[in-house]
């Protein structure tokens, strides 16, 4: 029966996947190769070669000497953790109220919050900058993190998840005398862990990779997040691709570890609409 499974279609499928793998992951692998190439390597060789002849860790030490990349990564981590926690709190609170509670004015609030999804970030960039300056938070990590703590998209995701929990679950608890907060925390929250994971992952990746807003808020180099710091790396070493590659590799390691660790939840969460069965 095995022979039956190898059809021309399967061959084409694997071939296409391999080509796409080379196009999508190849550039990253090439940076790893570049990052380990030493002075004895001709990185501009035609045709190019992959395995370093003069293998070295120098490029990484040089990056650490030239920019405080670990400090920038720490700043990014602080911003990211606050962003993830903040979004989980606001999205579950608002998602529960809008997805499960009945009260006058609900449609108005929903329209108000989801209407904001139509306002793109650039439209309010200038005024947000003025607001943050007015609060004397420019040049601080708090200023970077505050405007992003309540994503309307996350509320929408959580609202959908809460709304799809069967009503019997909550009714049983209500009969047992559980108040709305107890039902929220003990009955409903455990049911939406899948979606909460998706919100957490999206917030993490979004905050870690955010560039424009920290670029606007932060002027002081000691407060740079990793993305803003990496941009400076390019300016400083534009002549040496090895260092850019080493910097890119250093920045990629944590985010790829994070992704590979959580990818199971991520793909499961997205494909089942995020609702835990």
């Amino acid at each position: 029966m095995r022979a039956n499974r190898i059809t021309p279609g399967t061959v084409i499928r694997y071939l296409a996947c391999t080509v796409l793998f080379i196009l999508l992951v190849g550039p990253i692998i090439w940076q790893v190769s570049l990052a380990f190439k030493g002075r004895g390597d001709n990185i501009y060789a035609v045709p190019p070669y992959f395995i370093p002849k003069d293998f070295t860790w120098d490029n990484f030490t040089r990056v650490f000497h030239q920019i405080p990349i670990l400090h920038y990564a720490l700043n990014s981590l602080i911003v990211t953790v606050i962003n993830v926690v903040g979004n989980l709190v606001t999205a579950t609170l608002a998602g529960y109220a809008l997805g499960r509670l009945r009260f006058p004015g609900k449609k108005l609030v929903a329209g108000f919050i989801f209407g904001c999804m139509l306002i793109p970030g650039e439209t309010v960039l200038v005024s947000q900058f003025l607001t943050i300056r007015g609060l004397h938070l420019n040049n601080s990590l708090l200023g970077v993190v505050l405007p992003g703590l309540c994503g309307a998209m996350n509320i929408l995701l959580m609202m959908t998840a809460f709304a799809s929990i069967p009503h019997e679950l909550e009714e049983a608890a209500e009969v047992d005398g559980a108040n709305v907060w107890q039902r929220f925390i003990h009955i409903c929250l455990p049911q939406v862990r899948g979606t909460a994971m998706v919100v957490a992952i999206f917030s993490f990746v979004g905050a870690w990779n955010d560039f424009m807003w920290p670029l606007v808020v932060i002027g002081d180099e000691s407060k740079y997040t990793l993305t803003v710091g990496l941009n400076k790396l390019k300016g400083a070493f534009v002549t040496d691709p090895r260092l850019i590659a080493a910097g890119a590799v250093i920045a990629l390691v944590p985010i790829i570890i994070f992704f590979v660790a959580f990818q199971r939840y991520f793909f499961d969460g997205v494909e089942t609409g995020g609702v835990k069965e």
Binding site: P47, E122, C150, L252
Partner: protein, 288 residues
């Protein structure tokens, strides 16, 4: 349930929305009718900021670049990730490996992607070295210098980073297409291409419209890729500047012309609004 209970859940989200979205939006509208700068509260000047914006050649360049970006990106992002999703939509270990691998550029983020592709597409970078090695070209291609090549290189970075992201959305849609439709099609003698056109594409047409909307708006708002590839300058003579870059350049920092930049922001808001309405209209049509 006490009548105020829902509001206890909602108070924090509402405050955040008010302070960081609604107020700044209203403030942007107000500022766009004044000649304010960062250091000076301006006076009401009516529509003169708008006419200044519309007469500014920099704005024309930015509008053209952002529009071209959106027009080129939207079809790529609607079709290519769908093909990817169909390729990896098998529950085998090797396909789940490819699925994860294809998503990696999306988690890398556009700043790191920008760094990587600056390296790849520089005059002596890997792309030129490969093409030279294969004798396809005699001179290196100036990917990062020429005005149009630079814009297309930035698009390449966007596609590279976006394929995996939209692929995941398509995978969710593919999971909802009934397998019996494929069986019926294959009994009728439809090959893979025919099945793709007659079953897959109609089956996820709502998702296609959604991605058309998401990707064209994201493309019109492009910032990171062009910023990274041009080192923040917007290319030689600012010829590659985009709307978002222009808003940031004019509206932030110590020399910010907040009134002017606000008028620019409101114009951008309306353009994105028009794109959204067109696509909602398409969605309604697709629904029938």
């Amino acid at each position: 349930m006490k009548p105020w209970s829902p509001w206890l859940f909602l108070i924090i989200p509402i405050i955040f929305t008010l302070v960081f979205t609604i107020y700044p939006f209203l403030n942007t509208i107000r500022l766009s009718f004044t000649n304010s700068t960062l250091l000076r509260t301006g006076q009401f000047v009516g529509l003169s900021q708008y006419s200044a914006v519309l007469a500014d050649p920099k704005v024309h360049t930015a509008l053209l670049n952002s529009t071209i970006y959106a027009l080129c990106m939207a079809p790529c992002m609607v079709i290519l990730p769908l093909i990817l999703a169909v390729l990896v939509n098998k529950k085998t270990r090797i396909m789940s490996f490819f699925r994860t691998a294809f998503y990696v550029p999306a988690v890398a983020g556009s700043v790191i992607s920008g760094l990587i592709w600056t390296n790849m597409m520089s005059a002596k970078g890997l792309v030129n070295a490969l093409f030279l090695g294969l004798k396809w070209i005699k001179e290196p291609i100036p990917f990062l210098q020429d005005r149009w090549l630079l814009l297309f290189s930035a698009m390449l970075v966007t596609v590279w980073g976006g394929l995996g992201y939209y692929m995941v959305i398509y995978l969710a849609a593919l999971a909802n297409i009934d397998d019996s439709l494929y069986e019926a099609a294959s009994i009728d003698g439809a090959g893979p291409v025919r099945q793709f056109i007659s079953v897959t594409m109609p089956g996820c047409r709502m998702t296609m419209v959604l991605i058309l909307l998401l990707s064209s708006i994201a493309a019109f708002r492009v910032f990171n890729e062009v910023y990274m590839l041009t080192g923040g300058t917007g290319g030689l003579g600012g010829k590659d500047i985009t709307m978002s870059m222009l808003i940031m350049r004019e509206g932030t920092g110590l020399t910010a012309r907040t009134g002017y930049a606000s008028a620019l922001s409101i114009i951008m808001f309306f353009i994105l609004g028009i794109i959204t309405s067109i696509e909602f209209y398409v969605q309604r049509k697709a629904d029938h």
